[in-house]
Subunit: 203 residues, 2 copies
């Protein structure tokens, strides 16, 4: 008799209608409007930005964001208003490769604005993209943005000798230069495996 | 790994914080602040009221509502921000009797602002309050606010001869004067019951 919650549909409608927007972002040259209170409700970082130095009435100057693609910011907004993972691949002809890259950017954006549920959703989806080509990048991403699940999944992938061999050919150098700390985790993982194996062999 | 949606918690937090409110209601003498875009997202009636004649910037004068208790308006807001049925009985010492009366008022408010999910929730709860004392009032309420479920439940209650007898003593007069149309439904219900009974008796 009582239907499911329709909040996500209502706020998605609000975003699409553009009615009553009171904050403007200039994201990599593209103008994107939103509602301050929705952003503040959903992200402590936006709350501090938008209400921290709040003046009477609405802020008129646009907020510039130049280190993020407009598409990624639009996906972030879509999640903020709907609480659902947005469709990454749109009609513009993106392919699965693009999805993996965009998911990485979206994870970074989610972490920057402290939107934990979206960060975890990206992390979960990216676990499905781990392979010999991507593992080094994903490991660095996981380390920089405190993604325990993704990091564990990458280390598990490298626990398989054949994967580790391919990785040692190229990814290892990248890891060594961009995020040496994670090498220690990798070594300790492999060491503990070896140790476990020794015990098993002995027993 | 990914937690449940936390939208209802976020918007409830926004309402409680009072940050960034941009519309003021004066409800039966009490001042209550809210966010225009949240109200507009959740109710087509609020959308028309708040954005229909929108001026630049925010409206400064308060919106007066004198035919609703402040408590009922606060419960309505609580639902709008959370999409959850609020606690009707609070610490002020309300009892179950109050709950039934407040639910009726909340149903009227939900219908007025076209918040269907809340209307259905109130309707469902009120079905649990049908008895010989309340049935006439609830039947009139259901008829005036197009609550099919509640109306059916009331008519079902009156299908039991003992209930109908108590009702005929007082409620029937009230129904005749305040909502005669529903009497026709009641009569046709009882008629069809009699008819069914005749067929059964014959067969």
């Amino acid at each position: 008799m009582v239907p499911e919650s329709d909040m996500h549909r209502h706020f998605t409608g609000l975003l699409k209608s553009g009615e009553g927007t009171d904050v403007t972002f200039e994201v990599s040259g593209e103008t994107i409007n939103a509602h301050r209170c929705v952003l503040a409700a959903r992200s402590a970082v936006f709350r501090a930005e938008l209400f921290g130095h709040m003046k009477e009435g609405t802020t008129t100057s646009a907020i510039h964001i130049d280190d993020m693609e407009a598409k990624v910011f639009r996906l972030l907004l879509s999640f903020i208003y709907s609480d659902l993972m947005p469709d990454i691949i749109d009609e513009e002809g993106d392919n699965a490769n693009d999805e993996e890259v965009i998911l990485q950017h979206l994870l970074v954006a989610a972490d920057r604005y402290d939107i934990q549920r979206l960060r975890l959703m990206c992390e979960e989806k990216l676990c499905g993209y781990i392979n010999a080509t991507t593992v080094a990048t994903l490991l660095v991403l996981a380390e920089h943005h405190h993604c325990r699940g993704l990091k564990e999944a990458c280390l598990d992938f490298l626990d398989i000798p054949a994967n580790l061999q391919v990785f040692a050919g190229g990814g290892l150098n990248y890891l060594g230069s961009s995020c040496p700390s994670v090498l220690i985790d990798l070594i300790s993982k492999l060491e503990s495996l070896k140790h476990d194996k020794t015990i098993t062999d002995d027993g």
